[in-house]
Every structure is written in structure tokens, then in C-alpha cells.
């Protein structure tokens, strides 16, 4: 029998409460990671179709070494960085705002053999949990950018 700790930062929306630094920082991190996952996911698809970092660099007017650094992690990305990288890959970002739901987490006091399974979660969905909402929770999708109209000279 071992003790397990869960650190929960998910909160119900309460317009009168002040958000903690933990909540603010956590969701900033989540957004940053979602953006990175979106860009890298699309780059890997393009890369498998022989689209190189060098081509991406040329397309968005950066040096190849800058692309290498940017693709390695989202540490210093700005919104402009995301826009440039996605556009270079032929996409733009699709966005939607998703209500924050409660963590649905209960603090486990004891764990069992199951706890060490990578499939185990501290919290399980509540009765009104809608599995179909999982896709929407991602909140960010990249959309192929529309072809630019050709201007006849």
C-alpha cells in the first residue's frame, strides 16, 4: 500500500474568484504544448513526404538553423512563430474556446498494482462525461490554408 499524490489545477468557472498563479501557468503551458503538437504533427507528415526543414526555412524566410531550433521545442515561440511555421507547411490555425470543466479527480489515498499502469488515471469521468467531447477538448486544429487567388497581369 502506497500513498499517491495528485496535483490538480482544474477548476470550475467562478467569475468572482481570482485564478491562482498555478492555474494561469498550467494553462499557459497546456496551450504552448498544444501549439507545438499541432505544428510538429503537421511537419512530420510533410517530412515523410520529403518536405525538408530547408524548404520550410526558405518558405518562411528564416535560416535552416533557426527552423531546427524552433521545431525542437516551443520554449520561445510567439503567436507569429506559430503562424509562420504553419503557413510554411500550408496550414493556418483553427481555434475554438472550450469551457473548462472540473478535474473529475478524487485524491487517491492508496494505490494498488493498477496504479503503475500507464492507463490508470487519478480521476475518472463523471456520469455526465461526454466521450465525444474529447476531440473538441484539443481545441486546436490546423486547417489547410486556402489557395491564394492568382492575379492576372
Amino acid at each position: 500500500m502506497t500513498t499517491s499524490r495528485t496535483i490538480s489545477v482544474w477548476t470550475e468557472f467562478n467569475e468572482s474568484s481570482q485564478l491562482s498563479k498555478k492555474e494561469l501557468g498550467y494553462f499557459r503551458g497546456r496551450l504552448s504544448n498544444k501549439l507545438y503538437q499541432t505544428v510538429i504533427g503537421e511537419f512530420r507528415k510533410r517530412e515523410s513526404a520529403r518536405f525538408s526543414k530547408a524548404k520550410l526555412a526558405r518558405r518562411i524566410r528564416k535560416k535552416p538553423e533557426q527552423i531546427t531550433r524552433l521545431l525542437a521545442g516551443p520554449g520561445n515561440w510567439t503567436i507569429d512563430t506559430v503562424s509562420d511555421l504553419l503557413l510554411g507547411l500550408g496550414f493556418e490555425l483553427g481555434l475554438s474556446a472550450i469551457p473548462i470543466t472540473s478535474p473529475l479527480v478524487s485524491e487517491p489515498e492508496n494505490n494498488s498494482q493498477q496504479e503503475n499502469s500507464p492507463l490508470r488515471f487519478a480521476g475518472m469521468p463523471s456520469d455526465d462525461y461526454d466521450p465525444s467531447s474529447l476531440g473538441r477538448r484539443q481545441g486546436i486544429n490546423s486547417l489547410p490554408s486556402q489557395p491564394q487567388p492568382q492575379i492576372q497581369q
Partner: protein, 167 residues
């Protein structure tokens, strides 16, 4: 005695903790064990610790992890192999917001990372960084005896699923 049994013992005596994602998405793909120091840090109410928490949760959820298997080559990568490579230690690199943090640890098996030390990279010179790696090497030996960190070479797919490597 297998390393998994030793991990269980560490969980019992609270020299290791397992990170359970609080996010409601379903489907953890990896495991991360944390030393008490790291776990205590993650419980703080500040921007730095919460950013690290969100990153580690993404790791557990199986998100893409960028990794460099060449020591000292990692710049923006999330993980990097450390010298000497035969020790099988890696650092998990949390770069934003400053100051950057480094978690040093090793893999018990594929997709199972054990982080034993946490350091502020910016404040460390080369001897201090080497000492930190040595400290984590000793911490590993103290917990897992003859079971060394997984070291099968420099193919990232041995250590991680869903990785991104630009070496």
C-alpha cells in the same frame, strides 16, 4: 529483484512518486516517476512549477517529445542524452519561463522515465553541472542497486514512442 519491484518499494517509502495527470483527457501513454524534491516543487503555487507540471503531464499523455541523443547537442529539445552516455542518463528540459529547469534521470524501460534531480541550469557552471549528473547517478544506484538506467544505444525509439529527433 526486478527494477519494477524496487520502484514499488520507492513508492511505498515515498522516495518516488508517480505523476497522475489531472487533465480530463483519457489515455496515458507513458509513466513518469518523480523524486520528492520534484513532487514538492510541482505542488507550489507559481508560474514556473505549474508550467513544468503541464509539460510533464503532456509527456505522460504521450505527446510528441523532441529529443537529442547527442550529448551537448540539445538546444531547444525537451530531452537530451547526457555524458557519459554509458550511464544512460537524460535531462528533461523545461525552458520557459526563465529560469530554465533540468530534471535529470533515466529510463527504467521504454516510455518510463524516472526523474531524480531538478536543477536551475542557468545558475550552474560546468563543474556544478557534472556534479549534478553524478549526484543523480548516485541517487539511481541508491534506489535501484545493480539495475542501471536503460542504455541500449542512441536510437531514440528504444526509449520513447512518439518522439521527434533532429540529430
Amino acid at each position: 529483484m526486478s527494477i519494477q519491484i524496487l520502484i514499488e518499494k520507492c513508492l511505498e517509502n515515498e522516495t518516488l512518486f508517480i505523476l497522475h495527470p489531472s487533465a480530463p483527457e483519457v489515455g496515458a501513454k507513458r509513466i513518469i516517476y518523480l523524486s520528492p524534491v520534484v513532487m514538492e516543487f510541482l505542488g507550489r503555487d507559481d508560474f514556473r512549477s505549474s508550467r513544468l507540471l503541464s509539460e510533464l503531464e503532456a509527456f505522460v499523455m504521450g505527446d510528441i517529445v523532441s529529443i537529442s541523443m547527442i550529448p551537448r547537442n540539445a538546444r531547444s529539445e525537451m530531452m537530451g542524452m547526457l555524458e557519459p552516455i554509458e550511464n544512460g542518463l537524460f535531462d528533461y528540459r523545461s525552458r520557459a519561463p526563465r529560469p530554465g529547469l533540468r530534471l535529470i534521470g533515466g529510463f527504467a524501460r521504454k516510455d518510463c522515465f524516472i526523474a531524480l534531480g531538478m536543477y536551475l541550469r542557468r545558475t550552474m557552471n560546468e563543474p556544478e553541472w557534472r556534479a549534478a549528473i553524478r549526484e543523480c547517478d548516485l541517487a539511481w544506484a541508491e534506489r535501484f542497486k545493480k539495475h542501471l538506467p536503460m542504455m541500449t544505444g542512441v536510437d531514440p525509439s528504444d526509449y520513447l514512442s512518439n518522439y521527434f529527433c533532429m540529430d
